[in-house]
């Protein structure tokens, strides 16, 4: 029992980390809370499904195409929507939320509902760890989450683009004097965040069916992890996804599975009351309360 909780908790934490990574990236760099995040997640999932089943494209290729489409969607969203309401947080939230609503409900309207909307797993089969069978897909999620974290660390610390990202996040005016264009980086952050949502989608969605409700759930989970960890903090995302992930697994095991989402919501509420900037959020400690 203990081993099972340990393993499944780890997988669940990896799922949360993957889901939150893109949201956190966008918010951390450009300060845009992308409420269309859940919509992009299912958009990528359905797109892969359409390429794979309707157009008969190879699985690998359709994943690549979904990445590119999500990337473009994020970029266009910044260019034509966010840029016009930049600096008005409420308008940004309204606009992204409206767009997300439109995308998700469009899929519902087009009748993308049912069990047949599921993606095949990458490698079939399972492996036994300590007497518990874990399928390869879940294992892969854990591996990708860890790999992505490492890649991200190197990206933001050792590449020019990554350093520019962090510069904008710290002080965009000083960054501007050094020749970093905040709008270009902002657009890039939203595009990259969107393709991370697509990455999370193609890896996580084979575990179940793709449904419109996934979109809302993903948004709540991403928000929970980012708020608990501190909006914009990468270390925070990892710690918070472990915290929330394990508490969700424990809840599902000892109480009831459908209380899982309650854990996310309660985590948001408690952290906001006790320490609104999150466990690792340092940036806005002075602004958050009086």
């Amino acid at each position: 029992m203990f081993a099972a909780i340990l393993i499944y908790g780890f997988i669940n934490s990896s799922i949360l980390a993957l889901v939150a990574m893109g949201f956190n990236l966008t918010f951390g760099i450009s300060g845009v809370a992308n409420f269309a995040y859940g919509a992009i997640y299912i958009f990528a999932g359905f797109l892969v499904w359409i390429f794979l089943n309707t157009l008969g494209v190879n699985y690998f290729l359709s994943i690549i195409l979904a990445f590119i489409s999500s990337y473009l969607l994020g970029y266009l969203m910044y260019r034509f929507i966010i840029l016009r309401v930049r600096g008005l947080p409420l308008s940004e939230v309204m606009a992204t939320f409206g767009l997300g609503l439109a995308i998700m409900e469009l899929f519902r309207y087009l009748d993308f509902v049912g069990v047949k909307y599921s993606l095949p797993v990458f490698i079939d089969g399972s492996v036994s760890i300590g007497g518990h069978f874990i399928d390869y897909q879940r294992l892969l999620i854990g591996v990708v989450a860890v790999a992505l974290t490492v890649i991200f660390y190197f990206f933001t610390h050792y590449t020019k683009m990554g350093l520019a990202f962090r510069a904008i996040a710290q002080d965009d005016e000083t960054a501007l004097t050094l020749g970093i264009d905040p709008d270009r980086i902002g657009a890039f952050s939203l595009a990259l965040g969107s393709s991370l949502a697509a990455l999370a989608a193609v890896i996580i969605l084979p575990l179940g069916t793709i449904s419109v409700e996934n979109g809302y759930e993903v948004l709540i989970n991403a928000l929970a992890v980012c708020i608990v960890g501190g909006l914009g903090s990468t270390v925070g995302v990892i710690v918070a996804s472990i915290l929330v992930g394990y508490s969700q697994t424990l809840t599902a095991n000892y109480i009831e599975p459908h209380w899982m989402i309650l854990v996310s919501l309660a985590a948001i509420a408690v952290v906001l009351v006790v320490k609104p900037s999150g466990i690792f959020g340092k940036q806005k400690e002075l602004e958050e309360r009086v």
């Binding site: 309401v85 409420l90 309204m94 606009a95 609503l101 309660a266 009351v273 309360r289």
Partner: protein, 335 residues
């Protein structure tokens, strides 16, 4: 040679801003007409519609109450993403009073209004010190949390909700009750905004530390506006519960949170008329779009995006500018 748009306040606006030195009936009308539009519109014109549209107008008025209550919080710098908290609490309170204790609407609605306001203010008391987006997140999460809580613990009828709540004695009572309540809330809050009290509230939004250093307890003021906004929202909920003869988890649904904000965003924030106007555009619009079936929400979302991006100041401020100012193109030298 280039052109630029020049905007000049109309003479009557300049003279009448506060001092009201009016010369003619025309000027009296200029000032009175816009202020009378809500009264005449709600009490005289709305009853002329067919029964179907009257139902739509009633639900519009419920959303408008939530939107006006949202605006009061916004005025004090508290951005609420969870108006459904107020609606749900009011609905459950009135529903429980009616279903369990058998109180008639005449008693249950006032008790739920005051009690709901108090309960909402109490629930948000721990996070009153939070600002901006942090306060907003809490309000977004609270109604979702309460909905799950009711679902999981199965209190207050659980997922079924409370059904069979008493209805109003007649359709006209129901109709005029919500219209009068909306007008009272609207004009009452407008009076509040113009008073010294409103000045303090707006000051909290502009610079809370400056207000604190003037020796004013801003938390007490914030608690008061939370109670006022909560009471108006809870009234909407209590009224809705009796009108639909149902109180349940849908009361905490995202609809009641999103629509008031959308109304404020479309109509224009920073004035009570904006959210009112926005609600009276958005709710009927979504009703017209109902013919499109599920596609309705898609259009709705896109409309929201276009309204926010295309007219960031909001419709009301746009109209007011046109009404109060003369606009003309003037030539400018570029040297």
């Amino acid at each position: 040679m280039g052109r630029r748009k020049e905007r000049i306040d109309r003479g009557v606006k300049v003279r009448s801003d506060g001092i009201y030195a009016l010369n003619s009936y025309r000027e009296v009308l200029y000032l009175a007409v816009p202020r009378l539009i809500p009264v005449v519109g709600l009490l005289v014109i709305c009853p002329l519609f067919s029964d179907y549209w009257k139902e739509v107008i009633v639900s519009t008025a419920v959303y408008a109450l939530l939107a006006v209550s949202w605006e009061l919080l916004y005025m004090g710098g508290l951005i609420s993403l969870g108006q459904s908290l107020f609606y749900g609490v009011g609905a459950y309170m009135a529903g429980a009073l009616n279903a369990y204790l058998g109180l008639p609407p005449v008693l249950s609605i006032p008790i739920a209004t005051v009690g709901g306001g108090l309960l909402c203010a109490l629930m948000l008391l721990p996070v009153l010190r939070l600002r901006g987006i942090y306060f907003a997140m809490v309000t977004l999460v609270l109604p979702l949390l309460l909905a799950r809580f009711v679902e999981a613990t199965r209190i207050l009828g659980g997922t079924e909700g409370l059904t069979g709540i008493d209805s109003f004695s007649s359709q006209w009572v129901a109709f005029y009750l919500v219209m009068v309540a909306l007008l009272v809330a609207f004009y009452g809050f407008r009076r509040l905004e113009g008073s010294d009290y409103g000045l303090v509230i707006k000051g909290i939004n502009d610079n809370d530390r400056a207000i604190m250093s003037s020796g004013i307890n801003i938390h007490w003021y914030k608690t008061q506006i939370l109670f006022l906004a909560g009471a108006v929202g809870a009234f909407a909920g209590a009224y809705g519960a009796h009108y639909d003869m149902f109180a349940g988890i849908p009361g905490f649904a995202l609809d009641y949170s999103i629509l008031p904000i959308a109304a404020a965003a479309v109509g224009g924030m920073g004035s009570f008329a904006g959210p009112l106007l926005g609600a009276f555009i958005l709710v009927p619009l979504s009703e017209i779009l109902r013919a499109l079936g599920a596609l309705r929400i898609v259009f709705y979302g896109l409309f929201l995006v276009f309204a926010v991006v295309g007219l960031p100041e909001g419709l009301f401020h746009f109209v007011r500018r046109k009404y109060e100012q003369i606009e003309r193109w003037v030539e400018v030298d570029k040297k």
